[in-house]
């Protein structure tokens, strides 16, 4: 009996240790705006996807080992995710981490600046103007002339000045938020030119660029074969309800957040309303947090002792908007999922340089019933192409000739 009691108490202690912390109850004595600010600005939730993306970025720009500041030179990192998934929070965490790592070096070297973090401006009606990139970067890298009213840097000198700033301040990375703006009003060869512009900086100065943006950045991944191989993609996705682990993590996140809502009574969001909150946030933690911010604001205004379902419903995003976001997310996520036989496909392509569409093997059908391609014009001459060896390569629309099946003989 005693052993059972000990075990039960141990279990209870373990459970308590695993439970997320509550907010400081003294906060309840503060005025509503202070409580709102606490939850909205100061509660930062470090969830698995966020930390995973953060580690992936740091691995990409810094070589592993004790010397965390031994950076990999000139890497372009594309961090892509749906809107309101938490990309800006990711950037804040990345900045904190880089500052912590770089503190010792900053103490030793007063010229060193660990990073520059900017937000790419919208292009407006015209093309993206690189001056709008150079200026904030120069500002962040401590050029005192960029904002001088009388002796500012001329437009002609901006690029050279930026390159000099990269060399002299030796930042680990240039972080660009809303990087999808670089692609606005820009297609095809101009987009290649934009990315080559950044790549040129990386090649000459060794400074990495971390471009963070929405799924509108997908063309960046495959605009050009050279760029495709010289950049690293980091997908920062939403939590997917179809995956059990994601569900668990989402509920845990919700549980942690509900305990930080500075109200008298803890709202049981994770227990009772998680599906509703998931549906309205489509698994994006940023959207979830935004929703809870608004609901808390409503509750505090009404002087309620907790956040209720009514508060959540009154402040939720409309289903039309959520469906639009979900549709975009679902379409875009598919691009980041590799086929199960991706390795086999690549190996097959490497062995057979000429693209060869796989014969469609449909059960119960005779090969003679399969549609035949137009024969070679000269009778008695074999059609070009290799004979099928029976390997089912699958078809990749980007690689195989469209709509043509070759028949031997």
């Amino acid at each position: 009996m005693n052993e059972e009691q000990t075990e039960a108490s141990l279990d209870a202690e373990e459970q308590q240790a695993e439970e997320p912390e509550f907010f400081d109850r003294a906060l309840l004595l503060q005025p509503p705006e202070v409580r709102q600010e606490y939850f909205e600005q100061r509660c930062l939730i470090e969830h698995p996807r966020l930390l995973s993306a953060l580690d992936a970025i740091l691995d990409a720009i810094c070589a592993p080992g004790e010397e965390v500041l031994t950076r990999r030179l000139g890497t372009m990192v594309l961090v892509i995710g749906p809107a309101r998934v938490g990309k800006t929070t990711l950037i804040h965490l990345l900045e904190e981490r880089l500052l912590t790592y770089a503190a010792a070096r900053m103490q030793a070297d007063p010229h060193f600046i660990p990073f520059a973090s900017i937000t790419a401006p919208e292009a407006g009606s015209g093309r993206f103007d690189w001056i709008d990139f150079y200026r904030p970067v120069l500002r962040q890298l401590g050029n005192p002339f960029v904002d001088s009213p009388t002796h500012s840097i001329s437009a002609r000198q901006m690029r050279e000045a930026t390159e000099a700033a990269y060399r002299e301040r030796a930042p680990l990375a240039i972080i660009v938020d809303e990087a999808h703006h670089l692609a606005e009003s820009t297609r095809g060869s101009r987009l290649v030119a934009q990315l080559n512009h950044l790549k040129n900086f990386e090649n000459t100065t060794g400074v990495s660029h971390i471009l963070v943006g929405t799924y509108e950045m997908r063309p960046f991944r495959k605009i050009n074969p050279q760029l495709a191989l010289r950049s690293i993609d980091i997908h920062f996705p939403r939590y997917d309800m179809t995956k059990e682990q994601d569900c668990l993590e989402f509920k845990s996140i919700l549980w942690a957040l509900q305990r930080q809502l500075p109200v008298e009574e803890e709202p049981l969001l994770a227990e009772k309303h998680w599906e509703f909150l998931y549906a309205r946030s489509i698994g994006c933690i940023g959207l979830l947090k935004l929703h809870l911010n608004r609901a808390l604001n409503r509750a505090l205004k009404e002087g309620a002792c907790t956040v209720t379902l009514d508060h959540l419903r009154q402040t939720t995003a409309s289903d039309v908007r959520v469906k639009l976001a979900l549709r975009n997310a679902l379409e875009s996520e598919a691009e980041f999922v590799e086929a199960e036989d991706a390795d086999a496909q690549l190996l097959a392509l490497l062995r057979k340089p000429l693209p060869c569409p796989s014969p469609k093997v449909v059960s119960g059908q005779n090969a003679q019933d399969q549609p035949q391609s137009p024969r070679n014009q000269k009778p008695g001459k074999r059609a070009p192409g290799r004979d099928s060896t029976g390997l089912n390569l699958g078809t990749d629309p980007a690689l195989s000739p469209a709509g043509e099946e070759q028949v031997a003989g």
Binding site: P20, L44, E95, T100, L138, Q140, F145, M158, S252
Partner: protein, 477 residues
């Protein structure tokens, strides 16, 4: 929540709301603020090719994307004692300062001390004071030791440009005692070969490194630079010895502090008193005996060049005399003639062949010889200074006019070539369907800086008008 559904999710409470950039977090991390200006590393510090402070200022300005004068006006001026003058500097006075007075920044006075200290503060460096002359030549007054305007070696500029190295001005080139580049054994140049202008010490926005501060022409070797006259061995030996001595002085200063010449003169006085060598040394070195007395009494401080000349002829070095090693000096006092000829000794009077000079001048005027200026002809004929002007005034005047006309024609040809290049580039772009903006046209020229010439711009505008292009379409943004 059920126990099975728990996973470790941490919520971090930040101390304050997220606001401001990383700069606001420096205090928390106990990190000092970042330097206001870039901490550019001085070129070749600690060697005989060490950069001078004004060259460092120029490079610092260019690295920040502004003209060096802008950097001086905005960042250094307001911190100086006479900050009021720097707040609203008159363009003319600023030009005068940057062209002439600024050389003192490389010297030893208040200007040098304050500028080097301020630059060290702004760049968070501690070695910029080493770019001034006292750390080379000791506590000598700088007036007769530093040039009034920068000199340079065209071959060095060309070599550095070809190797992709930064162009800068070594302190070596700023000293009057150094007249020959120790690497290329050619005379240092003080005037632009195109406009004959002297260079500004702190550059304005018009020029980049290696360009004339007046006409933006390239100062390296190339077209327009007249061929170098051969140097005699004595001069080269003397200059190589000078550079060795400077290196010795620099090493001593860097290890033991600024070299004090008082010890040199004290030791010299003792040596000459003991050896009773004033007269002999005056005869050997060509320096007046009275001047030697004034040296050792401290009444007059000679220039570095004169001190080095004295030591060169006596076969000794400043360090040997300072450390009371008088063996070479004693030998020099007893020996006759001197072990080395004086580098500035007046050549013995030589009869000049007047007829030969007249034939040569006439050949130049008739076009049988290359067109030369009077000075160039004097050097070619190895005549004394004003010999030709005194004996052939008419011919010299004609030669001067001829040479001016020749230079004008050369300039016209050069400008014509540039205008043709601009015209072709503009038409090429237009035929390719590309808007021929000024920047694009400049990028097609052999030297893009040529686009800054007024004639080039005029040509570009005329061609654009002829192509019926709207002005707004071709103006640079």
């Amino acid at each position: 929540m059920k126990p099975a559904e728990r996973t470790g999710i941490a919520v971090r409470i930040m101390k304050s709301a997220r606001s401001g950039g990383w700069q606001s977090k420096l205090q928390e991390l106990d990190v000092p603020p970042r330097s206001r200006l870039y901490g550019l590393k001085p070129m070749n510090g600690g060697t005989v090719w060490s950069e001078c402070l004004t060259s460092y200022i120029n490079r610092l300005g260019w690295q920040h994307g502004v003209s060096p004068r802008t950097l001086a006006t905005q960042e250094i001026g307001p911190l100086l004692a006479d900050a009021e003058w720097w707040r609203y500097p008159s363009p003319r006075l600023m030009s005068v300062f940057c062209t002439a007075n600024a050389m003192s920044i490389n010297g030893s006075g208040n200007l040098a001390t304050s500028w080097s200290a301020l630059l060290e503060q702004l760049t968070s460096r501690t070695d910029l004071h080493l770019l001034t002359a006292p750390w080379w030549i000791g506590d000598l007054p700088m007036a007769r030791n530093l040039r009034t305007s920068p000199a340079w070696c065209p071959a060095c500029y060309t070599e550095w440009k070809q190797q992709g190295l930064p162009l800068y001005q070594p302190l070596l080139w700023m000293l009057q005692a150094v007249t020959i580049c120790p690497t290329h054994n050619r005379r240092l140049v003080e005037r632009c070969p195109f406009c004959q202008g002297k260079q500004a010490v702190i550059v304005s926005h018009k020029a980049q490194s290696g360009e004339c501060t007046k006409c933006a022409a390239w100062l390296g070797t190339g077209e327009g630079i007249s061929s170098e006259e051969p140097l005699d061995n004595e001069l080269m030996n003397w200059q190589q010895w000078v550079v060795c001595m400077l290196k010795e002085l620099q090493t001593t200063s860097l290890s033991s502090g600024v070299f004090s010449w008082k010890m040199f003169f004290t030791s010299l006085a003792r040596a000459m008193e003991q050896q009773k060598g004033y007269s002999q040394l005056a005869r050997l070195t060509g320096i007046d005996r009275r001047s030697l007395y004034q040296w050792v009494w401290g009444a007059v401080t000679p220039s570095l060049e004169l001190i080095l000349k004295f030591c060169y002829v006596c076969g000794t070095t400043p360090m040997e005399i300072t450390t009371n090693q008088w063996a070479s000096l004693e030998q020099a006092i007893q020996a006759d003639p001197a072990s080395r000829p004086s580098p500035h000794a007046r050549a013995p009077w030589q009869r000049v062949d007047v007829g030969r000079c007249q034939d040569f001048l006439q050949a130049i005027l008739d076009g049988r010889e290359q067109i030369l200026s009077v000075r160039q002809a004097t050097l070619r004929l190895k005549c004394p200074g004003r010999f030709l002007q005194d004996h052939f005034p008419l011919e010299c005047e004609q030669m001067t006019q001829q040479y001016k006309e020749y230079r004008r024609q050369q300039r016209e040809k050069y400008v014509e070539g540039v205008c043709e290049e601009v015209c072709n580039a503009t038409i090429t772009l237009h035929t390719q369907g590309i808007s021929p903006t000024r920047r694009r046209v400049a990028s097609l020229l052999k030297d893009p800086e040529r686009m800054r010439m007024p004639e080039a711009r005029k040509t570009w505008q005329v061609v654009c008008q002829e192509l019926a292009l709207q002005p707004t379409r071709v103006n640079d943004q």
